[in-house]
Assembly symmetry: C2
Homo-oligomer: 397 residues x 2
């Protein structure tokens, strides 16, 4: 049996639904239900407080971090789980600025996910030392790498269009300009092969609930290059990042390496769901996932272009510069997406006019792609979105 | 049936265990298992991404915040859930310092939980504008309230001894000195009646996994006085605290009131367990919980003092200045606690020499207290901890 037929059978996919929104929230791994239930019953229920040691809850953020490290080309002991992606952005950025203190510019791009820019803005206001955030168009980033740039902070894959930065080239260019680099892997981890170590990236952050399928609100991860991990003193210096949390020392002493990026008590129930999701990832090779993702993406683009000429492809044509999603634009994008969802094909709308479809080989096959394209075709051809749009608007109001 | 017999039946309490560590991690509410399972199956599994609206995940942090507000004397719309307690400390402290910009001192006390002091230290380093953290002995705090103090940040109930600050008097004194006040309610919420509104407190933070029983890593809460909530611009300015998260506006605009204290995606699975735990809290009155807590605490102190003269009571004698826990000291405290746990009575040890017992009327009755005291008596009388200590040390090494 094809490996992806096997993995598909490991997810709960609702009857009658074609799900192309796994880049927003991955579906439920069937094993996650039993895993979470067992965690509640056998660990929390029976072990109570002793679960922190007996069930290994205390070490879990690093143990699970190692499982994710494999998917993003990071060495063991360089990734730890916790908090949310926004918090991890703040930690990475504060650390990078501390390591490169003389410079004043945080360079990002206008395609970055807004929360990353918001967190940078909050940190700049908090630091209050004349720092500046620059966010030129994605294709102009390299040209802005000058001697003022302290940190280059980019999301590798654009959350709307799927446009993918060249991580290796930009990291090299940033280093040549004397800047450190933070990669947001929200739409990369589990989507495309990533080689953090090979690129010599300084920091990376990401979430687990998109392509990794950990469930709503699953914990984030942070990678710190081992050469930096022992140097930075975390801005968010919580007790679980302390060298000896249970010494209850009044003074903060950062923990060993990546452990210092832990802050507070980890979300153990969410972690159980994440572990079940990662069991599926253990079965596949990222290169095989990528090859299938490209195959399905090309098929979807071809079918939609053929059948729905009113839609404009806004994702890059070249698979090498596209993540694992396909996006189209249309002025009535919101209404069209609502019509599509009402017919059981779930994608996502992103303002102002983008229809976004996640391509997730672990549970999406070519039949799904064909069904999605033909449903979209029917909606466009019969202008079903006109009527549906009216209904949707009425409901929203 | 006594209300506390009813609530006790709503928890899973392991066979043969007397659990006096609910001030560290509350036990599993039986309904949490079905609630979490239903959330996974019917919400995540069936609704997928649409759960954010259909299942109300998006509004849940504020809705659940309102349920906790009732337990801490806060008005509806002033509390929101998310992140961890350490992160919430950072948010409250950064906000308070922004509201009181001319002053240089953060006043806490040496009995505060270390993570609060660590987070303050991290923020002071990040702000880098000559701020200073002072942590005198708890009884000397009031005398340190001078015109240099920007913020008074205290944990109401000491995590080791259970000593409880007078929230109303200290808040009044701080305000009279021109300082703002942050209360950490980690050992107060669900432990003692709290009246944030009546005390005119500025900020409060707390966790949900201790007395509130949300499970390991359950989300934290933050309260901001409504008069401040519209004034502060959050240091941790994440997208879910934005006025319109789904406008994907490149500029951050803080959300309405307390909503701006949200940061990233909330932990929806943990929230399901928390909601089940709060259903039990809806059945009881905090004054009744407090009365029963004092009754059980007095019983435990009396029995231990009578039977175990080697142990020194380190909690305040006066119930009015004691939270919902009882602590004793002994030079061999660690070994004694391990011996006690091996006999099925679970308390907690806190360095250097404290045996700590949480008193939690929702599921602890006088039989538990009597059993715990007599087990402790047997251990002390027969010096069982001597042998056990040897075994425990061997295992730790």
């Amino acid at each position: 049996m094809d490996i992806f037929e096997r993995t598909r059978a490991m997810f709960h996919l609702p009857e009658g639904v074609t799900y192309l929104d796994g880049n927003s929230l991955g579906p439920l791994p069937i094993a996650a239900q039993e895993r979470v239930d067992a965690m509640l019953r056998d660990q929390w229920g029976e072990m109570l407080i002793t679960g922190w040691n007996k069930a290994g809850w205390m070490d879990q953020p690093a143990r699970v971090g190692d499982r994710i490290a494999r998917l993003i080309g990071a060495p063991s002991g360089s990734v730890v789980m916790g908090d949310t992606l926004s918090i991890k952005v703040y930690q990475a950025l504060a650390s990078a600025l501390e390591l490169n203190p003389g410079r004043k510019v945080i360079l990002s791009d206008s395609g970055n996910f807004p929360s990353d820019l918001y967190m940078a803005d909050g940190l700049i206001r908090t630091l209050d030392r004349g720092l500046e955030l620059k966010a030129p168009a994605p294709e102009e980033v390299a040209a802005h790498l000058d001697s003022d740039v302290a940190v280059l902070m980019l999301t590798q894959v654009d959350y709307r269009t799927g446009r993918m930065h060249d991580m290796e080239a930009l990291t090299r260019a940033a280093h040549a300009a004397g800047a450190l680099v933070i990669w947001d892997l929200a739409h990369s981890a589990g989507a495309v092969p990533v080689d953090l170590a090979g690129c010599d990236a300084d920091f990376a952050v990401g979430c687990s609930y998109k392509f990794l399928n950990s469930g709503p609100g699953g914990p984030a991860f942070i990678y710190v290059h081992p050469k930096h991990a022992t140097q930075v003193r975390p801005a968010l210096s919580g007790w679980l990042g302390h060298e000896q949390p249970f010494a209850f020392d009044p003074d903060y002493r950062p923990g060993a390496g990546i452990e210092r990026m832990r802050v507070g008590t980890p979300p153990v129930i969410q972690m159980a769901a994440l572990e079940a999701a990662l069991d599926i990832w253990d079965l596949v090779d990222m290169d095989a996932v990528r090859a299938r993702s490209i195959e399905l993406s090309e098929l979807f683009i071809a079918l939609v272009e053929e059948k729905c000429p009113e839609l404009t492809v806004v994702s890059p044509r070249d698979p090498a510069t596209r993540g694992s999603q396909v996006a189209f634009s249309h002025p009535e994008g919101y209404a069209i997406m609502q019509a599509l969802i009402s017919k059981g094909v779930i994608g996502d709308f992103r303002a102002p006019d983008i229809l976004r479809f996640g391509i997730t080989p672990l549970y999406t096959n070519s039949n799904d792609i064909i069904r999605a394209a033909s449903t979209l075709h029917k909606i466009m051809e019969e202008r079903l979105w006109d009527r549906d749009a009216y209904r949707v608007r009425a409901r929203v109001t």
